[in-house]
Amino acid sequence: MIEIFGVPLVALTGQIMLGIVNGAFYAVLSLGLAIIFGIVKVVNFAHGAFFMMGAFLSFLLLDTLGVGYWGAIFIAPLIVGALGIVAERLLLRRIYGLDPIYGLLLTFGMVLVIEGGFTVAFGSSGQIYTAPDQLRGAVNLGFMFMPIYRLFVIGAAVAICVATWLVIERTSMGAKLRAATERPHLTQAFGINVPLLMTLTYGAGVALAALAGVLAAPIQNVSPSMGSELVVIVFAIVVIGGLGSVSGAAITGLMLGVIEGLTKVYYSEASTIIVFLIMAIVLLVRPAGLFGREEG
């Protein structure tokens, strides 16, 4: 058997693959956080709650309406995006211009309401959601067996990141978005409806979180607290990568997923804290983050 530093190759590649899958979720979530923060200037604590809603909606769609995975992957993000738009109009809109701290606190309050609501309605134990038939089973990659669904998640996450990047960098909508991020007042003076842009960005950002939630539903326990545990890790990732760069956020997310996977192989006790340790080291060496600009 081939071994690398005393670990069988199969175990190593297996954990790296798992790490990439986790990293894919980190990437999609920190990407959404970065986009929302860029224009709305709110660190969206509720990102994890919307992720959880995406997973729960795919479970509910199947359970009550018989809508399967392929329906859920479109419907759930749309519903959550619409809810995000309502939340932005009713709540977030009122605190623009205040210290960004209040945005963090407001969205934290939203987390409690959403998680509490789901706990009341469905209990705190988890629900099981199975992958669609087409994506069951595993393929032999030569060096290991990989469940097809996990490959699908990696592919989908990469597609989401690339598509988002293209929308932001290559379309006129994206150009407006970038302009509004840099100089909101000037952009508005050019006749672009910045408040509407902010609403839509928030909706799109949380829809991305919900999409990640649908992707996670078959491989994670679907429970009300599944999002908030994740969002704390994503916050650390965002500190490491810096919120200033959308592609930076995605790359950092993927990278840290892999590092976490490797830690599981070589020193599994530290795998839950490795991301936070790396954050502390990055803060000591490069306080602005790997891709960040020096700012507040």
């Binding site: 709540l91 960004p100 509490g116 706990t119 954050m279």
Partner: protein
Amino acid sequence: MGRALLLALGAVLLVGLILVPFYPHVIYPVFVMRVLCLALFACAFNILLGHTGILSFGHAAFFGSAAYFCGYMLKEQGLSPEIGLLTGVASAALMGAVFGALATRRSGIYLAMITLALSQLVYFLFLRLPWTHAEDGMQQIPRGVLLGVFDLRNDLTLYFVVMALTLAGLALVHRIVHSPFGEVLRAIREHEPRAKSLGFPVARYKILAFTLSAGLAGLAGSLKAIIYQVASLRDVHWSMSGDVILMTLLGGMNSVLGPALGAALISSLYHYFDALGGWVTIMVGGIFIGCVLLFRRGIVGELDAALAARRSAKVSHDEKDNENATN
């Protein structure tokens, strides 16, 4: 608020607190001790939020670690409560210095996210350490005899010791906030570059504020471990950090004792509506949203503003009267 009114209110509260253990059927003394602990926790937290303008989202780490370390000294080492309390406070203060040194390298929301992440690191450490018993938590921590005189196994003695220590802690918070040091902290909050250009070593002041705030939070956590004889993961979890933020926000972060009022209200909510389960979380979230959207000054802040408005209205009225009289 008028000084006389404030003193009268304080005196009534003090008498009320002294009477509590003699009427356990009116109000549960253990609940009052919990409120006292959390009041100290919230006021200590407010040294950072209200007076330095720093939002820490990781204060549960200080509160919970102190509870664990105090419990460790009492249960695993069989030492006396004064050693437990000192260990709790010292470990929390040290942790506060480390958190402060790391987190103050950034500011604002980044600082909040960093403290949250660091507290999650601490959470996982306590989940893993061999003597913390993971999900079960540390149970049946012996109370012992404080300084060889005060037998904390006696409920009445315990109550008065907890009352004395938390009130001393609150007095210390008051002292810190009204000292020249506290004045510098407020200068940093209002205009950091100016404080820096006046020659104050801002970074060191912030780290010291972190240390003091964490140490006092540690006193609250250690006392909590002695009262309940339990140190659990709930004490180090970020939801505890969220609770202390809410207490401070609700009570009013621009006052010294507003957070204590917030602590009393929020712990009452948890205490009396415990049976409602998830609904309590929804209510707490709703109060959070309401505080941020409607009254950011908190209850004490709004009361203060209302009283000040009335007073100034009265003053201008009086002035008008005087003018009329002279004419």
